[in-house]
């Protein structure tokens, strides 16, 4: 088995389990319009874990879990009891207050604790990579039980009852929710649990109705988890944060693709995109003329995609300095990587390094990072100087490009001055299906 597979298979299986239960819960949360209840309950669970941590219970111990669960169930009681407010004050307001107070209280509790900041970071982003088989063995039957209970009670939960019956079913929902969130936050962190809950469910609701929403959500969630874990491994990034960003990107793609399903809306989107690009080009043209030394996001992006753009306005000497700085920046990165590998290898294999050697490597890493930043500074400076020199030409080119991209027919101004109606595609006759 390869290293990657050995490291990632357990977190991936856990991700499937988390996606399965959270997508199901997410659909219910979206239907109830209490989107941020997950964040609030997750933060309450985190507060419980923090209190347990300060009382001396190790992280991920049963004591820590008990505190988290107790705090979450107490919050579930509060949430169920305040559902009736929603006729006068949106319940999201209370949910937001619970989140903010729980977060602030957690900071207060760990204020004087050594490694307190690290503990808070751990609670936010979790560490799904360190999941063990025992975690999976614990949460899988628990989530299955909760899922079956909620499925069985789905009709009663959907019904808007009155009085104590309504309170009881609300409490049942929030309590189930709290049990799941308490366990999930301990494994994956507040942010990733929120992503598991809302994003697959939102995409499911965007593209389908009925039970198909659940299947779409599951498929999307599993795919995003797979991509996130792989990206985290390949680029050596923090797993939790990478997975959250991957889920966010998945929602963005789903949002972009959704209007393109219809040819008419696709045409409208295409025209809108052309207007957007043209405006961005025109704004860039003005910005480079006004402030050539400042950040030029569009030009930077163009150069990233096609370095030839840079070669068009840098002089030969400037290009040589730029290339030289780039080569050295890469060299310093390689040197830093080599030192990191050396230090890592000494920990896992071979002779351990002495304290003096570790300090020396640390100093060299700082120096290499500093020198790499110096080379990046040179690249920015050379580019800024060249852009200042050719700002009017670059501005004019960008303006011409903006004019070329802009869909002039939208303005309906023909060359001969007569106004012509916009060509509209005939609408298809509504079908019975």
């Amino acid at each position: 088995m390869s290293d990657a597979l050995a490291l990632l298979w357990l977190p991936f299986v856990l991700s499937i389990v988390l996606v399965a239960i959270h997508t199901f819960l997410g659909l219910q949360v979206l239907a109830r319009n209490v989107v941020f209840v997950d964040l609030a309950l997750a933060q309450i669970a985190a507060l419980g874990a923090t209190v347990a941590f300060m009382l001396g219970h190790p992280v991920s111990s049963s004591g820590s879990y008990a505190y988290s669960l107790a705090f979450t169930l107490a919050a579930a009681v509060v949430l169920a009891s305040t559902r009736s407010w929603s006729q006068r004050v949106p319940q999201e307001a209370l949910v937001g207050v619970i989140y903010v107070v729980a977060a602030a209280a957690a900071f207060l509790v760990v204020e004087k604790a050594p490694q307190g900041t690290e503990h808070i970071k751990q609670l936010l982003t979790g560490n799904i990579l360190t999941t063990g088989a025992h975690d999976l063995a614990f949460v899988t039957p628990l989530y299955a039980l909760v899922g079956c209970g909620l499925w069985a009670a789905r009709a009663r939960l959907a019904r808007s009852g009155e009085g104590s019956s309504k309170w009881l079913w609300d409490f049942f929902f929030y309590a189930c929710f709290g049990v799941v969130v308490t366990s999930s936050v301990a494994l994956a962190g507040v942010l990733l649990v929120f992503s598991f809950l809302i994003i697959p469910a939102a995409i499911g609701m965007l593209y389908a109705d009925g039970v198909r929403r659940l299947f779409i959500g599951w498929a999307v969630g599993v795919l995003a988890s797979c991509v996130g874990l792989t990206a985290s491994y390949v680029w050596d990034l923090p797993t939790g944060s990478t997975m959250v960003c991957t889920f966010g990107a998945t929602l963005a793609i789903a949002g972009i693709v959704w209007p393109l399903r219809s040819r008419d809306t696709a045409a409208i989107v295409a025209r809108g995109a052309r207007v957007g690009v043209a405006l961005a080009l025109a704004a860039s043209a003005a910005w480079i003329a006004i402030a050539p030394r400042e950040d030029q996001p569009l030009l930077d992006a163009l150069e990233l995609v096609s370095p030839v753009v840079r070669e068009m306005y840098l002089s030969r000497n400037e290009m040589q300095i730029y290339t030289d700085a780039d080569e050295y920046a890469q060299r310093y990165s390689r040197e830093a990587d080599r030192l990191n590998d050396k230090e890592a290898q000494s920990r896992w294999q071979g002779e351990p390094l002495s304290d003096s050697d570790v300090r020396r490597i640390s100093s060299f890493l700082q120096s290499y990072n500093e020198m790499r930043r110096g080379e990046e500074f040179v690249k920015r400076e050379v580019r800024a100087r060249a852009r200042t020199r050719v700002r009017w030409v670059l501005g004019a080119v960008l303006l011409v490009a903006a004019c070329a991209v802009f869909p002039w027919r939208l303005l309906n101004i023909p060359v001969d001055g007569a106004r012509r109606p916009l060509r509209v595609r005939p609408q298809a006759a509504p079908s019975d299906s």
Binding site: E327, E335, G374
Partner: protein
């Protein structure tokens, strides 16, 4: 880029893969007396903060050989927004006695024995295209109590125009020189790279530029030559601790062992002058030392008695305060090679056509230096509208503090700031 430079760049850019130590290379078409050696700066070829005469050499050369070495910057990234003074102090106290410099070397010169003199000719210096100047909050520098806040400035070194724009409209000429270049001490063990001494080291003498020659006494077999703390420019005084700090893509030196010359302190030969120097924690004692060195040099050069030589120093030698921040403060004096001439002795007390000037006198030379240099910093703030940390940094990078009349009870220090630094539309 010439053929030599291309070879060097290709070696050092690839050095991470090979972790190359020094390499000897043959240069086709290059007529040189000795061999040519390339020495990239890597973990294996550099030392951090210590001189230790037991350090195994990274390169062995013969007398007359030329070395093309690369140097690294020393890290200053502890000076970051939000870093507490406690954290920065801890960084230093965790490594007591260690200097901040990353030094390339040591280079073993075959044939060099204790008692000899090592001649190091600076053939060529090519810095990287960037530099920094920074102030460590509340620590180091001439005025740590007054500057409890820190900052880092990145500077682009315009090698075509040989200037760097320190502030909008303020251009400092680039005159690169190695802040630290020296040989091993005779005492065994590890010694901080910060204080200079008879082994040269962290002299921070800005006149040691391309084309000059350093003569340094040898204390151990092979001499063991290091260099680092690479500067693109520096003021005389280096008051905020840092110069225009950079790294060299090429420091090209030729080394030669001189058996006949005897020295107890380093000397520098420039095209027109000889430089003698003195170092001590007390600037008054550094002055005594440089007086003795210069007096001896002048008496040898002009066949005078030591007393006559010392008296002549006041008339012909031009003394500058090299730095006041390296534990041992330094003064260096330029004396003309020609026995019939004298050095530039301009010591204004008021603004001239070329310089903004501050002046102070005190029985204690340390106090005179503090007063004159702080007056210039305050003047830059009030008259030029420069922010206080920028003024501190500019003084460190470009102010020229000169030793004035020291014959009476009070010693004079004159700090000059060239007006030519202020250039309209400098960056355009």
């Amino acid at each position: 880029m010439n053929k030599v430079a291309r070879v060097f760049v290709s070696v050092i850019v690839a050095s991470s893969a090979t972790a190359a130590l020094g390499q000897s290379v043959a240069l086709p078409g290059k007529k040189m007396q000795g061999k040519f050696h390339l020495l990239p700066a890597t973990l294996e070829t550099t030392q951090w903060g210590w001189f230790n005469n037991a350090q195994p050499p990274v390169l062995t050369v013969e007398s007359g050989d030329t070395i093309m070495m690369e140097t690294m910057m020393h890290s200053h990234n502890q000076v970051v927004p939000g870093a507490t003074i406690e954290a920065i102090k801890k960084l230093r106290t965790d490594h007591p006695g260690r200097g901040p410099h990353t030094l390339t070397g040591p280079i073993y010169v075959n044939g060099a024995e204790p008692g000899d003199v090592l001649k190091v000719k600076i053939n060529k210096i090519v810095p990287r295209a960037y530099a920094t100047n920074f102030n460590v909050p509340g620590m180091f520098g001439e005025f740590p109590k007054e500057y409890q806040d820190g900052q880092v400035k990145y500077l682009y070194l315009d090698w075509d125009r040989k200037v760097t724009e320190f502030l909008p409209g303020v251009l400092i000429p680039i005159k690169p020189f190695p802040g630290t270049i020296g040989v091993a001490r005779k005492e065994p063990g590890q010694y901080s790279s910060v204080p200079p001494g008879e082994y040269a080291g962290n002299m921070d003498i800005r006149d040691l530029t391309e084309g000059t020659v350093l003569y340094v006494p040898v204390f151990v077999p092979g001499a063991l030559l290091w260099s680092g703390d690479s500067h693109a420019a520096q003021g005389n005084g280096e008051v905020n601790l840092t110069a225009v700090e950079t790294a060299y893509r090429e420091l090209n030196v030729t080394v030669e062992v001189l058996k006949d010359m005897k020295l107890d302190m380093p000397r520098i030969e420039t095209p027109k002058s000889w430089i003698t120097m003195g170092f001590d924690q007390d600037l008054n004692k550094a002055l005594d030392q440089v007086k003795a060195q210069t007096g001896r040099f002048l008496s040898e050069q002009r066949k005078l008695s030591p007393d006559e030589g010392a008296k002549l120093m006041a008339k012909v030698s031009d003394c500058r305060i090299s730095q006041v921040v390296n534990i041992k403060k330094g003064i260096h004096c330029l004396s003309p090679k020609s026995a019939s001439t004298k050095e530039d002795m301009e010591r204004p007390t008021k603004e001239t056509a070329r310089y903004y000037v501050t002046h102070a006198k005190d029985a204690d030379l340390n106090k005179a230096m503090d007063t004159a240099s702080m007056s210039m910093i305050k003047w830059l703030e009030s008259s030029k509208g420069i922010a206080r940390l920028d003024a501190y940094g500019l003084a460190s990078a470009a102010m020229d503090c000169r030793l004035g009349d020291v014959s009476g009870a009070e010693k004079n220090v004159h700090c000059l700031m060239p007006k030519s630094l202020w250039v309209a539309n400098a960056g355009k």
